[in-house]
Amino acid sequence: MTSPRDIIRLLLPVAVLAAGLLVWEALVRAYDIQPYVLPSPLLVLQTLISDWGVLSQSLGVTLLTTLEGFVAAAIGGIALALLFNQSKWLEYSLFPYAIILQVTPVIAIAPLLLIYLQQQTAVIVCAWIVAFFPVLSNTTLGLNSVDRNLAGLFQLYGASRLQTLLFLKLPGALPYILGGLRIAGGLSLIGAVVAEIAAGSAGAGSGLAFRIAESGYRLNIPRMFAALLLLSLAGIVIYGLLALISHLLLRRWHESALGKES
Protein backbone atom coordinates (compact mmCIF):
# COMPACT_ATOMS: atom_id res chain seq x y z
CA MET A 1 0.00 0.00 0.00
CA THR A 2 2.55 2.61 1.10
CA SER A 3 5.18 2.46 -1.59
CA PRO A 4 8.24 4.74 -1.50
CA ARG A 5 6.47 6.83 -4.12
CA ASP A 6 3.51 7.42 -1.81
CA ILE A 7 5.79 8.44 1.04
CA ILE A 8 7.60 10.92 -1.17
CA ARG A 9 4.27 12.30 -2.32
CA LEU A 10 3.31 12.95 1.29
CA LEU A 11 6.69 14.33 2.30
CA LEU A 12 7.15 16.76 -0.59
CA PRO A 13 4.53 19.34 0.43
CA VAL A 14 5.73 19.13 4.04
CA ALA A 15 9.28 19.76 2.89
CA VAL A 16 8.17 22.74 0.81
CA LEU A 17 6.33 24.16 3.84
CA ALA A 18 9.36 23.69 6.11
CA ALA A 19 11.68 25.28 3.57
CA GLY A 20 9.32 28.22 3.08
CA LEU A 21 9.07 28.83 6.83
CA LEU A 22 12.84 28.59 7.22
CA VAL A 23 13.49 31.11 4.45
CA TRP A 24 10.81 33.41 5.89
CA GLU A 25 12.33 33.19 9.41
CA ALA A 26 15.84 33.72 8.03
CA LEU A 27 14.83 36.75 5.94
CA VAL A 28 13.08 38.41 8.87
CA ARG A 29 16.16 37.93 11.04
CA ALA A 30 18.76 38.80 8.41
CA TYR A 31 17.12 42.08 7.40
CA ASP A 32 15.81 42.81 10.91
CA ILE A 33 12.26 43.30 9.57
CA GLN A 34 9.92 44.78 12.18
CA PRO A 35 6.94 42.66 13.36
CA TYR A 36 4.45 45.36 12.27
CA VAL A 37 5.76 44.92 8.72
CA LEU A 38 6.26 41.17 8.63
CA PRO A 39 6.29 38.98 11.73
CA SER A 40 8.45 35.88 11.73
CA PRO A 41 6.73 32.46 11.73
CA LEU A 42 7.94 31.85 15.30
CA LEU A 43 6.38 35.11 16.46
CA VAL A 44 3.10 34.18 14.78
CA LEU A 45 3.17 30.88 16.64
CA GLN A 46 3.94 32.66 19.93
CA THR A 47 1.06 35.06 19.31
CA LEU A 48 -1.24 32.19 18.55
CA ILE A 49 -0.40 30.69 21.94
CA SER A 50 -0.39 33.92 23.95
CA ASP A 51 -3.62 35.24 22.36
CA TRP A 52 -5.30 31.86 22.41
CA GLY A 53 -8.02 33.07 24.77
CA VAL A 54 -9.26 35.77 22.39
CA LEU A 55 -8.56 33.83 19.22
CA SER A 56 -10.18 30.56 20.33
CA GLN A 57 -13.33 32.42 21.30
CA SER A 58 -13.41 34.09 17.90
CA LEU A 59 -12.73 30.77 16.21
CA GLY A 60 -15.73 29.33 18.02
CA VAL A 61 -17.95 32.19 16.82
CA THR A 62 -16.84 31.85 13.21
CA LEU A 63 -17.15 28.05 13.25
CA LEU A 64 -20.65 28.27 14.69
CA THR A 65 -21.69 30.77 12.00
CA THR A 66 -20.13 28.56 9.34
CA LEU A 67 -21.89 25.50 10.66
CA GLU A 68 -25.25 27.26 10.78
CA GLY A 69 -24.78 28.61 7.26
CA PHE A 70 -23.68 25.18 6.04
CA VAL A 71 -26.63 23.35 7.58
CA ALA A 72 -29.01 25.97 6.17
CA ALA A 73 -27.35 25.64 2.76
CA ALA A 74 -27.48 21.85 2.86
CA ILE A 75 -31.13 21.69 3.88
CA GLY A 76 -32.15 24.60 1.64
CA GLY A 77 -30.20 23.37 -1.39
CA ILE A 78 -31.39 19.77 -1.18
CA ALA A 79 -34.99 20.78 -0.41
CA LEU A 80 -35.11 23.22 -3.32
CA ALA A 81 -33.64 20.62 -5.67
CA LEU A 82 -36.25 18.08 -4.55
CA LEU A 83 -39.03 20.62 -5.14
CA PHE A 84 -37.63 21.50 -8.57
CA ASN A 85 -37.45 17.80 -9.38
CA GLN A 86 -41.10 17.28 -8.53
CA SER A 87 -42.36 20.33 -10.40
CA LYS A 88 -40.80 21.63 -13.60
CA TRP A 89 -42.89 24.82 -13.36
CA LEU A 90 -41.41 25.61 -9.97
CA GLU A 91 -37.95 25.04 -11.37
CA TYR A 92 -38.58 27.33 -14.37
CA SER A 93 -39.98 30.03 -12.03
CA LEU A 94 -37.26 30.02 -9.39
CA PHE A 95 -34.03 28.70 -10.87
CA PRO A 96 -33.06 32.02 -12.53
CA TYR A 97 -33.20 33.73 -9.13
CA ALA A 98 -30.98 31.09 -7.61
CA ILE A 99 -28.46 31.87 -10.34
CA ILE A 100 -28.79 35.63 -9.75
CA LEU A 101 -28.12 35.12 -6.03
CA GLN A 102 -25.11 33.05 -6.92
CA VAL A 103 -23.51 35.40 -9.44
CA THR A 104 -24.01 38.60 -7.44
CA PRO A 105 -20.89 38.98 -5.29
CA VAL A 106 -21.84 38.31 -1.69
CA ILE A 107 -19.54 41.07 -0.46
CA ALA A 108 -21.86 43.51 -2.26
CA ILE A 109 -24.99 41.96 -0.78
CA ALA A 110 -23.68 41.77 2.79
CA PRO A 111 -23.99 45.49 3.67
CA LEU A 112 -27.61 45.45 2.51
CA LEU A 113 -28.41 42.39 4.58
CA LEU A 114 -26.85 44.10 7.59
CA ILE A 115 -29.30 46.96 7.22
CA TYR A 116 -32.39 44.75 7.22
CA LEU A 117 -31.36 41.86 9.46
CA GLN A 118 -29.85 41.50 12.89
CA GLN A 119 -26.12 41.04 12.59
CA GLN A 120 -26.05 37.40 13.67
CA THR A 121 -28.86 36.55 11.25
CA ALA A 122 -27.26 38.51 8.44
CA VAL A 123 -23.99 36.64 8.85
CA ILE A 124 -25.73 33.28 8.62
CA VAL A 125 -27.78 34.40 5.61
CA CYS A 126 -24.55 35.43 3.91
CA ALA A 127 -23.00 32.05 4.53
CA TRP A 128 -26.18 30.45 3.20
CA ILE A 129 -26.29 32.54 0.02
CA VAL A 130 -22.74 31.62 -0.90
CA ALA A 131 -23.03 27.95 -0.01
CA PHE A 132 -26.47 26.81 -1.10
CA PHE A 133 -26.01 27.04 -4.86
CA PRO A 134 -23.48 24.22 -5.33
CA VAL A 135 -25.74 21.98 -3.23
CA LEU A 136 -28.78 22.96 -5.31
CA SER A 137 -27.13 22.55 -8.70
CA ASN A 138 -25.32 19.32 -7.82
CA THR A 139 -28.42 17.75 -6.29
CA THR A 140 -30.48 18.78 -9.32
CA LEU A 141 -27.86 17.25 -11.61
CA GLY A 142 -27.84 14.05 -9.55
CA LEU A 143 -31.61 13.70 -9.46
CA ASN A 144 -31.72 14.14 -13.24
CA SER A 145 -28.93 11.61 -13.85
CA VAL A 146 -31.01 8.59 -12.94
CA ASP A 147 -30.44 5.52 -15.15
CA ARG A 148 -33.29 5.52 -17.67
CA ASN A 149 -33.69 1.76 -17.61
CA LEU A 150 -33.75 1.65 -13.82
CA ALA A 151 -36.47 4.29 -13.92
CA GLY A 152 -38.33 2.05 -16.41
CA LEU A 153 -37.98 -0.87 -14.05
CA PHE A 154 -39.45 1.15 -11.19
CA GLN A 155 -42.32 2.08 -13.51
CA LEU A 156 -42.81 -1.58 -14.46
CA TYR A 157 -43.12 -2.62 -10.83
CA GLY A 158 -45.59 0.17 -10.15
CA ALA A 159 -43.39 2.30 -7.90
CA SER A 160 -45.01 5.41 -6.42
CA ARG A 161 -43.40 8.82 -6.79
CA LEU A 162 -42.22 8.65 -3.19
CA GLN A 163 -40.70 5.19 -3.67
CA THR A 164 -38.95 6.33 -6.84
CA LEU A 165 -37.58 9.32 -4.97
CA LEU A 166 -36.44 7.40 -1.88
CA PHE A 167 -35.15 4.19 -3.43
CA LEU A 168 -33.89 5.41 -6.78
CA LYS A 169 -33.35 9.13 -7.20
CA LEU A 170 -31.90 10.02 -3.80
CA PRO A 171 -29.41 7.13 -3.56
CA GLY A 172 -28.41 7.76 -7.17
CA ALA A 173 -27.91 11.45 -6.48
CA LEU A 174 -25.93 10.86 -3.25
CA PRO A 175 -22.46 11.15 -4.84
CA TYR A 176 -23.49 14.44 -6.49
CA ILE A 177 -25.05 15.75 -3.26
CA LEU A 178 -21.90 14.92 -1.31
CA GLY A 179 -19.80 16.67 -3.96
CA GLY A 180 -21.98 19.76 -3.56
CA LEU A 181 -21.71 19.62 0.23
CA ARG A 182 -17.93 19.41 0.01
CA ILE A 183 -17.85 22.66 -1.97
CA ALA A 184 -20.49 24.22 0.30
CA GLY A 185 -18.39 23.56 3.43
CA GLY A 186 -15.55 25.77 2.25
CA LEU A 187 -17.92 28.35 0.80
CA SER A 188 -19.93 28.77 3.99
CA LEU A 189 -16.69 29.62 5.79
CA ILE A 190 -15.99 32.23 3.11
CA GLY A 191 -19.54 33.56 3.43
CA ALA A 192 -19.20 33.85 7.20
CA VAL A 193 -15.88 35.68 6.90
CA VAL A 194 -17.17 38.10 4.26
CA ALA A 195 -20.20 38.96 6.39
CA GLU A 196 -18.09 39.43 9.52
CA ILE A 197 -15.79 41.83 7.71
CA ALA A 198 -18.74 43.73 6.25
CA ALA A 199 -20.34 43.92 9.69
CA GLY A 200 -17.13 45.07 11.29
CA SER A 201 -18.75 45.64 14.68
CA ALA A 202 -16.96 45.20 18.00
CA GLY A 203 -18.01 43.53 21.19
CA ALA A 204 -18.97 40.04 22.13
CA GLY A 205 -19.69 37.48 19.47
CA SER A 206 -16.89 38.69 17.20
CA GLY A 207 -15.46 36.11 14.84
CA LEU A 208 -11.99 35.54 13.44
CA ALA A 209 -12.52 37.78 10.43
CA PHE A 210 -13.43 40.60 12.75
CA ARG A 211 -10.21 39.92 14.73
CA ILE A 212 -8.24 40.22 11.50
CA ALA A 213 -9.84 43.54 10.62
CA GLU A 214 -9.46 44.83 14.16
CA SER A 215 -5.79 43.75 14.42
CA GLY A 216 -5.17 45.47 11.10
CA TYR A 217 -6.39 48.81 12.45
CA ARG A 218 -4.16 48.36 15.50
CA LEU A 219 -1.16 47.27 13.42
CA ASN A 220 -1.09 44.03 15.41
CA ILE A 221 0.21 42.16 12.39
CA PRO A 222 1.30 38.97 14.24
CA ARG A 223 -2.26 38.49 15.49
CA MET A 224 -3.57 39.02 11.94
CA PHE A 225 -1.36 36.20 10.77
CA ALA A 226 -2.35 33.98 13.70
CA ALA A 227 -6.06 34.53 12.99
CA LEU A 228 -5.50 33.90 9.29
CA LEU A 229 -3.70 30.67 10.14
CA LEU A 230 -6.66 29.54 12.24
CA LEU A 231 -9.13 30.36 9.45
CA SER A 232 -7.07 28.40 6.98
CA LEU A 233 -6.84 25.42 9.34
CA ALA A 234 -10.59 25.57 9.93
CA GLY A 235 -11.17 25.44 6.17
CA ILE A 236 -8.87 22.45 5.79
CA VAL A 237 -10.53 20.58 8.66
CA ILE A 238 -14.03 21.27 7.26
CA TYR A 239 -13.01 20.01 3.84
CA GLY A 240 -11.28 16.97 5.32
CA LEU A 241 -14.28 16.05 7.46
CA LEU A 242 -16.69 16.31 4.54
CA ALA A 243 -14.36 14.30 2.30
CA LEU A 244 -14.16 11.62 5.00
CA ILE A 245 -17.94 11.46 5.39
CA SER A 246 -18.31 11.24 1.63
CA HIS A 247 -15.75 8.44 1.45
CA LEU A 248 -17.41 6.47 4.25
CA LEU A 249 -20.82 6.72 2.59
CA LEU A 250 -19.67 5.82 -0.92
CA ARG A 251 -16.79 3.42 -0.41
CA ARG A 252 -18.82 0.27 -0.91
CA TRP A 253 -20.21 1.10 -4.30
CA HIS A 254 -19.20 4.32 -6.01
CA GLU A 255 -16.40 4.61 -8.56
CA SER A 256 -15.06 7.80 -6.99
CA ALA A 257 -14.32 6.00 -3.72
CA LEU A 258 -12.61 2.94 -5.19
CA GLY A 259 -9.14 4.37 -5.55
CA LYS A 260 -6.54 2.62 -7.64
CA GLU A 261 -7.16 -0.96 -6.56
CA SER A 262 -9.55 -1.94 -9.35
Binding site: L153, G158, Q163, W253
Partner: protein
Protein backbone atom coordinates in the same frame (compact mmCIF):
# COMPACT_ATOMS: atom_id res chain seq x y z
CA UNK B 1 -42.61 -13.17 -48.36
CA UNK B 2 -43.63 -13.83 -44.77
CA UNK B 3 -43.86 -17.53 -44.28
CA UNK B 4 -47.06 -18.30 -42.55
CA UNK B 5 -46.84 -20.18 -39.33
CA UNK B 6 -49.93 -22.13 -38.40
CA UNK B 7 -51.57 -20.49 -35.40
CA UNK B 8 -51.32 -22.55 -32.28
CA UNK B 9 -54.46 -23.61 -30.51
CA UNK B 10 -52.91 -22.71 -27.16
CA UNK B 11 -53.88 -19.45 -25.52
CA UNK B 12 -51.93 -16.41 -26.61
CA UNK B 13 -49.93 -14.88 -23.76
CA UNK B 14 -49.29 -11.71 -25.74
CA UNK B 15 -51.40 -10.36 -28.57
CA UNK B 16 -50.51 -7.24 -30.58
CA UNK B 17 -52.95 -5.91 -33.16
CA UNK B 18 -52.10 -3.11 -35.57
CA UNK B 19 -49.59 -1.66 -33.13
CA UNK B 20 -47.65 1.37 -34.31
CA UNK B 21 -45.31 3.73 -32.51
CA UNK B 22 -44.62 7.20 -33.80
CA UNK B 23 -42.33 9.33 -31.67
CA UNK B 24 -42.98 12.97 -30.84
CA UNK B 25 -40.29 13.86 -33.36
CA UNK B 26 -42.50 12.37 -36.07
CA UNK B 27 -40.26 9.34 -36.59
CA UNK B 28 -42.28 6.19 -37.24
CA UNK B 29 -40.44 3.57 -35.21
CA UNK B 30 -42.68 0.57 -35.44
CA UNK B 31 -45.51 -1.12 -37.22
CA UNK B 32 -48.16 -1.70 -37.98
CA UNK B 33 -47.39 -4.92 -36.16
CA UNK B 34 -49.55 -7.98 -35.49
CA UNK B 35 -48.00 -10.50 -33.19
CA UNK B 36 -49.21 -13.47 -31.19
CA UNK B 37 -46.98 -15.20 -28.70
CA UNK B 38 -48.30 -18.35 -27.16
CA UNK B 39 -48.09 -19.17 -23.52
CA UNK B 40 -44.84 -20.93 -22.76
CA UNK B 41 -43.33 -20.09 -26.14
CA UNK B 42 -39.77 -18.83 -26.71
CA UNK B 43 -39.87 -16.21 -29.47
CA UNK B 44 -37.03 -14.07 -30.76
CA UNK B 45 -37.46 -10.71 -32.43
CA UNK B 46 -34.54 -10.34 -34.81
CA UNK B 47 -33.69 -7.24 -36.75
CA UNK B 48 -31.18 -4.50 -37.52
CA UNK B 49 -30.44 -1.74 -35.02
CA UNK B 50 -33.18 0.86 -34.90
CA UNK B 51 -35.85 -1.41 -36.40
CA UNK B 52 -38.09 -0.91 -33.39
CA UNK B 53 -37.70 -4.31 -31.78
CA UNK B 54 -36.79 -2.78 -28.42
CA UNK B 55 -39.70 -0.39 -28.84
CA UNK B 56 -42.00 -3.38 -29.34
CA UNK B 57 -40.73 -4.89 -26.10
CA UNK B 58 -41.28 -1.64 -24.18
CA UNK B 59 -44.83 -1.47 -25.54
CA UNK B 60 -45.54 -5.03 -24.38
CA UNK B 61 -44.12 -4.18 -20.96
CA UNK B 62 -46.35 -1.11 -20.76
CA UNK B 63 -43.32 1.17 -20.38
CA UNK B 64 -44.52 3.12 -23.38
CA UNK B 65 -47.95 3.51 -25.00
CA UNK B 66 -48.65 2.57 -28.64
CA UNK B 67 -49.61 5.38 -31.00
CA UNK B 68 -52.28 3.09 -32.45
CA UNK B 69 -53.39 -0.50 -32.03
CA UNK B 70 -53.79 -2.71 -28.99
CA UNK B 71 -51.46 -4.68 -26.75
CA UNK B 72 -53.16 -7.47 -24.81
CA UNK B 73 -51.62 -9.72 -22.20
CA UNK B 74 -53.46 -12.82 -21.08
CA UNK B 75 -54.83 -12.76 -17.58
CA UNK B 76 -54.00 -15.53 -15.26
CA UNK B 77 -55.94 -16.35 -12.15
CA UNK B 78 -55.52 -14.83 -8.75
CA UNK B 79 -51.95 -13.72 -8.26
CA UNK B 80 -50.15 -14.37 -5.05
CA UNK B 81 -48.69 -11.33 -3.32
CA UNK B 82 -45.44 -10.15 -4.83
CA UNK B 83 -46.16 -11.75 -8.18
CA UNK B 84 -45.83 -9.70 -11.29
CA UNK B 85 -46.96 -10.57 -14.74
CA UNK B 86 -43.87 -9.32 -16.51
CA UNK B 87 -40.17 -9.67 -15.91
CA UNK B 88 -37.87 -7.41 -17.92
CA UNK B 89 -34.17 -7.82 -18.60
CA UNK B 90 -32.41 -4.89 -20.24
CA UNK B 91 -29.33 -4.84 -22.41
CA UNK B 92 -27.40 -3.41 -19.50
CA UNK B 93 -27.60 -5.20 -16.15
CA UNK B 94 -29.42 -2.09 -14.81
CA UNK B 95 -28.60 -2.81 -11.18
CA UNK B 96 -28.64 -0.30 -8.36
CA UNK B 97 -24.91 0.12 -7.63
CA UNK B 98 -25.57 1.15 -4.01
CA UNK B 99 -27.43 -2.05 -3.18
CA UNK B 100 -26.17 -5.58 -2.67
CA UNK B 101 -27.08 -8.40 -5.03
CA UNK B 102 -29.75 -9.57 -2.59
CA UNK B 103 -31.26 -6.07 -2.26
CA UNK B 104 -31.27 -5.66 -6.03
CA UNK B 105 -33.23 -8.88 -6.41
CA UNK B 106 -35.51 -7.77 -3.59
CA UNK B 107 -36.49 -4.60 -5.44
CA UNK B 108 -39.75 -5.90 -7.00
CA UNK B 109 -40.97 -6.95 -3.53
CA UNK B 110 -39.94 -3.64 -2.04
CA UNK B 111 -41.99 -1.76 -4.61
CA UNK B 112 -44.95 -4.14 -4.45
CA UNK B 113 -48.08 -2.85 -2.79
CA UNK B 114 -48.82 -6.13 -1.03
CA UNK B 115 -45.71 -7.40 0.75
CA UNK B 116 -44.81 -11.01 0.11
CA UNK B 117 -44.34 -13.06 3.26
CA UNK B 118 -42.10 -15.56 1.51
CA UNK B 119 -39.92 -12.89 -0.14
CA UNK B 120 -36.69 -14.11 1.45
CA UNK B 121 -37.18 -17.70 0.31
CA UNK B 122 -38.04 -16.59 -3.17
CA UNK B 123 -34.98 -14.34 -3.38
CA UNK B 124 -32.83 -17.30 -2.30
CA UNK B 125 -34.49 -19.50 -4.93
CA UNK B 126 -34.00 -16.93 -7.68
CA UNK B 127 -30.32 -16.48 -6.79
CA UNK B 128 -29.98 -20.26 -6.74
CA UNK B 129 -31.52 -20.56 -10.16
CA UNK B 130 -28.95 -18.23 -11.70
CA UNK B 131 -26.09 -19.75 -9.69
CA UNK B 132 -25.30 -16.72 -7.55
CA UNK B 133 -26.32 -17.92 -4.08
CA UNK B 134 -22.81 -17.28 -2.75
CA UNK B 135 -22.76 -13.69 -4.00
CA UNK B 136 -25.92 -12.44 -2.26
CA UNK B 137 -23.94 -9.94 -0.15
CA UNK B 138 -21.72 -8.63 -2.95
CA UNK B 139 -22.10 -5.26 -4.59
CA UNK B 140 -22.59 -5.06 -8.36
CA UNK B 141 -19.15 -3.55 -8.92
CA UNK B 142 -17.55 -6.65 -7.46
CA UNK B 143 -19.16 -8.86 -10.12
CA UNK B 144 -18.20 -9.64 -13.72
CA UNK B 145 -20.42 -8.60 -16.62
CA UNK B 146 -21.93 -12.07 -16.91
CA UNK B 147 -22.67 -12.26 -13.18
CA UNK B 148 -24.35 -8.85 -13.24
CA UNK B 149 -26.55 -10.10 -16.05
CA UNK B 150 -27.44 -13.12 -13.91
CA UNK B 151 -28.50 -10.82 -11.07
CA UNK B 152 -30.67 -8.95 -13.54
CA UNK B 153 -32.21 -12.26 -14.61
CA UNK B 154 -32.80 -13.30 -11.00
CA UNK B 155 -34.55 -9.99 -10.33
CA UNK B 156 -36.81 -10.59 -13.34
CA UNK B 157 -37.60 -14.15 -12.21
CA UNK B 158 -38.13 -13.48 -8.52
CA UNK B 159 -41.72 -12.31 -9.00
CA UNK B 160 -42.54 -15.52 -10.89
CA UNK B 161 -43.71 -13.69 -14.03
CA UNK B 162 -45.68 -15.35 -16.82
CA UNK B 163 -43.81 -13.39 -19.44
CA UNK B 164 -40.10 -12.71 -19.57
CA UNK B 165 -39.09 -9.84 -21.86
CA UNK B 166 -35.40 -9.68 -22.72
CA UNK B 167 -33.88 -6.78 -24.65
CA UNK B 168 -30.56 -7.92 -26.15
CA UNK B 169 -29.52 -9.06 -22.68
CA UNK B 170 -26.27 -10.78 -23.65
CA UNK B 171 -25.13 -8.45 -26.44
CA UNK B 172 -22.37 -6.85 -24.40
CA UNK B 173 -20.88 -10.09 -23.09
CA UNK B 174 -17.97 -12.09 -24.44
CA UNK B 175 -18.79 -15.18 -26.48
CA UNK B 176 -18.00 -17.85 -23.90
CA UNK B 177 -20.07 -16.09 -21.25
CA UNK B 178 -22.87 -15.54 -23.74
CA UNK B 179 -22.97 -19.23 -24.70
CA UNK B 180 -23.08 -20.24 -21.06
CA UNK B 181 -25.88 -17.80 -20.30
CA UNK B 182 -27.76 -19.02 -23.42
CA UNK B 183 -27.67 -22.56 -22.05
CA UNK B 184 -28.67 -21.48 -18.56
CA UNK B 185 -31.54 -19.44 -19.95
CA UNK B 186 -32.75 -22.43 -21.97
CA UNK B 187 -32.73 -24.74 -18.98
CA UNK B 188 -34.54 -22.12 -16.87
CA UNK B 189 -37.13 -21.74 -19.62
CA UNK B 190 -37.65 -25.50 -19.75
CA UNK B 191 -38.04 -25.86 -16.01
CA UNK B 192 -40.05 -22.70 -15.30
CA UNK B 193 -42.38 -22.72 -18.35
CA UNK B 194 -42.17 -19.00 -18.97
CA UNK B 195 -43.22 -17.20 -22.11
CA UNK B 196 -40.04 -15.54 -23.37
CA UNK B 197 -39.78 -12.74 -25.91
CA UNK B 198 -36.13 -12.26 -26.70
CA UNK B 199 -34.87 -9.29 -28.72
CA UNK B 200 -31.53 -9.76 -30.44
CA UNK B 201 -29.58 -8.74 -33.52
CA UNK B 202 -27.72 -12.05 -33.61
CA UNK B 203 -29.02 -14.65 -36.09
CA UNK B 204 -27.07 -17.37 -34.30
CA UNK B 205 -28.40 -16.53 -30.88
CA UNK B 206 -31.99 -16.33 -32.09
CA UNK B 207 -31.84 -19.69 -33.86
CA UNK B 208 -30.10 -21.38 -30.94
CA UNK B 209 -32.62 -20.23 -28.35
CA UNK B 210 -35.99 -19.91 -30.00
CA UNK B 211 -38.89 -22.01 -31.04
CA UNK B 212 -39.84 -19.22 -33.38
CA UNK B 213 -37.75 -16.43 -34.92
CA UNK B 214 -39.49 -13.30 -36.15
CA UNK B 215 -37.39 -11.30 -38.58
CA UNK B 216 -38.23 -7.61 -38.59
CA UNK B 217 -37.79 -5.12 -41.40
CA UNK B 218 -35.87 -1.86 -41.18
CA UNK B 219 -37.63 1.10 -39.58
CA UNK B 220 -40.56 1.30 -39.18
CA UNK B 221 -40.27 -2.30 -38.02
CA UNK B 222 -42.76 -4.82 -39.32
CA UNK B 223 -42.69 -8.57 -39.51
CA UNK B 224 -40.61 -9.57 -42.53
CA UNK B 225 -40.54 -13.32 -42.04
CA UNK B 226 -41.19 -15.98 -39.44
CA UNK B 227 -39.37 -19.22 -38.90
CA UNK B 228 -40.23 -22.09 -36.68
CA UNK B 229 -37.00 -23.60 -35.43
CA UNK B 230 -38.12 -27.20 -35.27
CA UNK B 231 -34.96 -28.57 -33.70
CA UNK B 232 -35.43 -31.17 -31.00
CA UNK B 233 -35.36 -30.17 -27.35
CA UNK B 234 -33.45 -29.97 -25.14
CA UNK B 235 -30.79 -28.20 -27.12
CA UNK B 236 -27.19 -28.17 -26.02
CA UNK B 237 -23.78 -27.21 -27.31
CA UNK B 238 -23.87 -30.01 -29.91
CA UNK B 239 -26.78 -28.20 -31.59
CA UNK B 240 -24.49 -25.21 -32.24
CA UNK B 241 -22.25 -27.28 -34.48
CA UNK B 242 -24.97 -29.31 -36.23
CA UNK B 243 -25.75 -29.05 -39.93
CA UNK B 244 -29.36 -28.44 -39.03
CA UNK B 245 -28.37 -25.36 -37.01
CA UNK B 246 -26.26 -24.05 -39.88
CA UNK B 247 -29.15 -24.51 -42.30
CA UNK B 248 -31.55 -22.61 -40.05
CA UNK B 249 -29.03 -19.82 -39.65
CA UNK B 250 -28.55 -19.53 -43.41
CA UNK B 251 -32.29 -19.38 -43.98
CA UNK B 252 -32.80 -16.71 -41.33
CA UNK B 253 -29.81 -14.71 -42.55
CA UNK B 254 -31.21 -14.65 -46.08
CA UNK B 255 -34.52 -13.37 -44.77
CA UNK B 256 -32.73 -10.70 -42.74
CA UNK B 257 -30.62 -9.41 -45.67
CA UNK B 258 -33.34 -7.13 -47.19
CA UNK B 259 -33.67 -5.36 -43.84
CA UNK B 260 -30.10 -4.19 -44.22
CA UNK B 261 -30.38 -3.39 -47.94
CA UNK B 262 -31.10 0.31 -47.50
CA UNK B 263 -28.36 0.83 -44.93
CA UNK B 264 -24.98 2.18 -45.93
CA UNK B 265 -21.97 0.34 -44.64
CA UNK B 266 -24.04 -2.74 -43.88
Amino acid sequence: MAQSVAPDTKAAAVRLRGVTKIYDTGVAALGPLDLDVNSGEFVSLLGPSGCGKSTALRLIAGLSAPSAGTVELSHRGAQRPGSHRIGFVFQEPTLMPWATVRDNVRLPFRLAHAPAADADTRIDDALDQVGLAEFAGAYPRELSGGMKMRVSLARALVTDPDILLMDEPFAALDEITRFRLNNDLLSLWRSLHKTVIFVTHSVFESVYLSQRVIVMTARPGRIGAEFRISAPEPRGEEFRTSAEYAAFCREVSNALAPSYAGQRGA
